[in-house]
Symmetry: C2
Subunit: 431 residues, 2 copies
């Protein structure tokens, strides 16, 4: 069966074509945008054409943040007039229709703000410059060790009177792409604009500040938050032959940051989820339990789709046995994380011999994924598909997250890996 | 120690910089070319700057084939005037200063030629169109199942009076890059021009031939073989503290096909070999046995460097305990092939626990590599570094094998994997 699954994926795979359409024909699909609405319609139509047993959408209200005209950051004094490639962080307020010109103060850690205190920070733009640590083999660990600067930097800096924040992009690669991503404010303090600058620009600025102080920069940001908007999760289903009211689901998130095409994050996870069900159908496998491919809306800046899905599942008494999320890019397969009891880790490790020939070697405890997280409280076993992580943060949340940076075979192998796990769980997981 | 090796590779790695120089500053470096001579000088200077204990070159005579002006293949009749992106196969003769215009006959297997016979083949251009099989998980198996068309197609077709040969490129990707590669003639028959056409062009031509027969094409090829030229292997050494006359070597081949930059094939293997020794030196490891990084010359169309290296080693009584080759691209690590007795496979599998955290899971019987092959008859244990193979044939022998398609971290992880294996072999392999 697993051989058949991979043969189908690699010979007659459809997911690369679907992802190409999603990336190049739909337009940016951040929650609340016209592109997101088109992506809902498109993925629904793809699953309808595949004649899944049931295809539906599920309403949810989502935040609606818009980037507006591109941001601008450049050095005003203390160095030559250097433009620093930048982009607003998701959720950032604007600079109020004008440039903010202020001295920059560089910090490596959020805690440094307290040490510096209001006297040194007030009226300045705080530059968070700690790079991702290259020595982590799993790049997600390097990301985890840095992303507090992006998520909480503005909230903390505002406490000390900063007028704006720039953050070194979360990437292990030194290049000119700024990487956006979610951030939050502290309601007790002023909301100040927060932007990412490219890694290469951050390195230049750090060097400049080491040599010439003070450095002043100009920062313009044009983003704004509009009222919440109606959007949808998209759900395709193969109905189970034995236990149709019990579910095994696989999903990704359909929304994506708007500066690239969201090819890896998380177009890949969406098309792989559809493809996993398509493969099982194509090779004639009739699942015992109902299986679903779920395109969750609004993972990036709200998680409203994931929350809504779990809420509805609970309300309607749909028993979710297991959920797999693919939200780490469309790269070559490595394994699965398992968010559950050791029994489950052992059980899934028992499938290892069957999966190793396909490059799946890692079966270990770890988070399943943000969108499926809300299902945990009902006892759902959560798994995360692990592709190789080396290239992920080159593209993550950046203009370079485009279809050209996705390899067709790697994407297909991921879809087959998920289909294989769904099959094994369906057949041997829940007796 | 292994943690230290990876830390050094990922924090202060030099191999991406060296590969960038090799790819962008040296020029094409097919055996016998001025670029190959510059590559010898450059890699020697890199190892001298790293202050390896000994850096030397080793003379060898190499074939000197030149591509000349770009080839041309286009449809003359039986379809619209379609240009089929093409390149001469390495070693091909020219079309004699003029175009060869002839009917095309398509075959999928070399054996089909015998079935068709001279009556149907004489005076025609044979089109070998069998694609690589996408269902192989290891893409090298798909390559192995197809490459007879490129290697022996012209020799076989000439037996039946064909006037030229075109071959579908050896790639799993459908695109416009023709992929070159080695081929041979049969001295009993006429040498006829042999070209690769891109996979997309091959698919178009197959469709055209299914719809309209006969199809005539025009084929021009301007390559020629010049007299053998003096060239060199390049050898850098860290001298062993306990057994300086016993050697552990790691190598790649310095020559590369001339239509791309030879970034993955095999610039990657060369710079990883240098880097493996640099890393061990940088972290202060003093090897028990002598270790060498060897840039072999002329793997692609002669293997003269590999043969010469083994010949000299035998003559001078240098005992080569083990040799590692990296010639499968600079992709994320997967493991090593071991060409030796089962005892050795078991012994190296014993290192698995130490290497798994770095993505190295596969330790299995298999060929070490072409360049180190000639050492086998003296009893050298041969190992091949295995990176992930999914993307390799996208770039292999094509204009797309350029530095932009190499990921810095993946390249560095490969160098660290080789350094780790050298360390383990030095410390625990030969007691």
């Amino acid at each position: 069966m697993i051989r058949k699954i991979f043969d189908e994926a690699l010979s007659d795979g459809k997911c690369y074509e679907v992802l190409t359409h999603l990336c190049t024909q739909i337009g940016p699909r951040l929650s609340g945008s016209p592109g997101a609405a088109r992506a809902v319609d498109y993925t629904r139509s793809v699953m309808e054409k595949e004649k899944f047993d049931k295809v539906s959408t599920q309403e949810c209200m989502v935040p609606h943040w818009v980037r507006g005209n591109p941001s601008e950051v450049f050095v005003v004094s203390g160095g030559k007039n250097d433009v620093l490639p930048s982009c607003a962080l998701g959720g950032s307020v604007s600079s109020g229709g004008k440039a903010i010109i202020a001295e920059v103060i560089e910090v490596k850690q959020l805690d440094d703000l307290e040490k510096l205190g209001k006297a040194k920070i007030e009226g300045k733009i705080v530059f968070f410059s700690r790079p991702m640590k290259p020595t982590h083999i799993q790049t997600f660990e390097a990301y985890g060790g840095c992303v507090d600067q992006r998520g909480s930097g503005a909230a903390k800096a505002a406490q000390y009177g900063a007028v704006g924040v720039i953050v070194r992009s979360m990437s292990l690669r030194e290049d000119d792409f700024p990487h956006t991503g979610g951030m939050h404010y502290d309601t007790l303090y002023k909301k100040i604009p927060a932007l990412a600058i490219s890694t290469a620009a951050a390195t230049r600025l750090s060097k400049l500040m080491a040599a010439n102080k003070p450095v002043k920069i100009s920062l313009t940001c044009n983003s704004e938050t509009l009222p919440d908007t109606l959007s949808h999760n998209v759900i395709g289903q193969l109905t189970g032959t034995e236990k149709p009211g019990e579910y095994l689901i696989t999903g990704g998130h359909l929304d994506a940051w708007d500066n690239g095409q969201g090819a890896h994050d998380d177009g890949a996870g969406c098309v792989q989820s559809i493809e996993a069900l398509r493969i099982l159908k194509a090779i004639g496998y009739r699942p015992r339990h109902s299986m679903r491919a779920v395109m969750f809306m609004n993972e990036e800046n709200g998680l409203r789709g994931g929350l809504k899905y779990a809420e509805v599942a609970e309300k309607t008494g749909e028993k979710h046995l297991a959920a797999i999320e693919s939200d780490r890019g469309g790269f070559t397969p490595r394994g699965f994380t398992i968010e559950g009891e050791q029994d489950w880790v052992d059980k899934i490790n028992g499938f290892r011999k069957l999966l190793e020939p396909y490059g799946l070697n890692e079966f270990k405890k770890g988070g399943g994924g943000a969108d499926i997280g809300p299902l945990k409280k009902s006892g759902t076993l959560c798994l995360g598909y692990i592709p190789d992580s080396q290239r992920y943060f080159d593209f993550h949340h950046a203009g370079s997250d485009v279809i050209e940076n996705v390899n067709k075979r790697e994407l297909e192998m991921g879809a087959a890996s998920i289909a294989a796990m769904l099959y094994l769980l369906d057949k041997y997981g829940f007796n």
